[in-house]
Symmetry: C2
Subunit: 241 residues, 2 copies
């Protein structure tokens, strides 16, 4: 059973003002819930149907049982999926650690689905952090959270002043551009920064000028550009090669 | 000026029943229009604002000038973008030609955005045809058309009985699966078939058994799977390598 205030509170996560400002974000579905319970994120509250609770060895203290019709009112998905949890956003403290790894930098990725797919792709290739410009879509947008398919629980997304951050990094700064060195003949260093730009404008000039190693995915056909998530996947695949 | 019947007709393309059955599909925006005019597709009718017409050397015979408020009523985009055209669907005749090229096969791709991105990615890597199962999203879904960013005009999408089609192909049948030969150590033949499966179920059993060369994108992190369009891009990038 859920009370009116809780219902209103969770429904308000459909609005940007709310999910941007709250200290918690929402995850939905048994698969995401399983990964959440295995992570070190703090679950503030969860609402689950009897069906979900019965799959657990015991009912966790933070779970309130709700009826199917109640979950239908709470969900932001097209179809409610057994469980909804309110999770505390991670507080990332101190300077960003760059040693010995590749850090992905996103300059103005606007589309929530694209951002979610990029986070998931970064996770596949073993990256554990992404640094984003303030105008990149928020990783707490419910659409982003869902499209990461759980990777949001493993990859830290940090908002930073990109020029300042990039200038302080003493390592190769790779940038995906239309005219650079072919990724097929470039061996990417294990430690570095990889910048992916906005879907239509690419990497913006102040950041473009900080790139030490412009790289390109060779084109064999006629499409004008590649989707940002696809480009990220191809470059990270070459990096891990 | 546009009359009521035309208005109703174009608005009806918002509904699947309509865009699936009509012999025309809709494209929008000056960029897509430019590529359309350079293609061999037949434009049955177009509606454009004065702003767009003034960018042209002359007003094409198929263009009706409309006011901004009229275009706003016609558009399927969030914001109307100067021009909307009704384009005749291509009739693809005769058997599918497989000689000397890679043909992409999609087994049940459901998400329109994913399908559009896959078509665009195939175009980037020089593929000119994709064969899809009947339950794959329609390439004439307005969301798919827009997300191809013009590639729908260059890549043929053919619906076929996949098991029958694949069985008739005498060439390597590559399939993207979770446990196959690493694409990093596999040299893909220039001529072949590449099968990409459904977003959550992968390639289905009757088709799985027809794969001669199962291939895998090695995983270095913890994501459970890669997005279908990202996987397609990584494999095609390796194929062109």
């Amino acid at each position: 059973m859920i009370n009116k205030n809780e219902l209103k509170y969770i429904q308000s996560f459909a609005h940007k003002k709310h999910w941007a400002e709250e200290s918690v974000f929402i995850i939905e579905g048994p698969k995401m819930m399983e990964e959440l319970m295995a992570s070190n994120f703090v679950i503030r509250q969860a609402y689950a149907t009897k069906e979900w609770i019965e799959t657990q060895p015991y009912k966790p203290h933070y779970v309130t049982e709700v009826a199917d019709f109640e979950l239908d009112k709470l969900t932001q998905l097209q179809k409610a999926n057994q469980v909804i949890a309110l999770v505390e956003k991670k507080q990332i403290k101190g300077p960003i650690q760059l040693k010995g790894k590749m850090t992905l930098v996103l300059d103005g990725i606007q589309d929530p689905g694209n951002l979610g797919t990029i986070i998931r792709t970064a996770d596949w290739f073993g990256l554990d952090q992404i640094v984003v410009s303030a105008d990149t879509a928020s990783c707490y947008n419910p659409k982003v959270v869902q499209s990461t398919m759980g990777s949001i629980l493993r990859v830290d997304v940090v908002v930073a002043d990109l020029p300042e951050f990039i200038q302080s990094a003493k390592m190769p700064i790779y940038g995906a551009v239309l005219e650079g060195k072919s990724i097929q003949t470039t061996v990417l260093a294990k430690e570095g920064i990889l910048i992916i730009g906005n879907e239509s404008k690419g990497i913006r000039p102040p950041i473009l000028s900080l790139i030490t190693d412009p790289i390109t995915i060779p084109k064999y056909g006629n499409a004008e550009s590649l989707n940002a998530a696809v480009a990220t996947g191809i470059i990270l695949s070459n990096w891990q090669h």
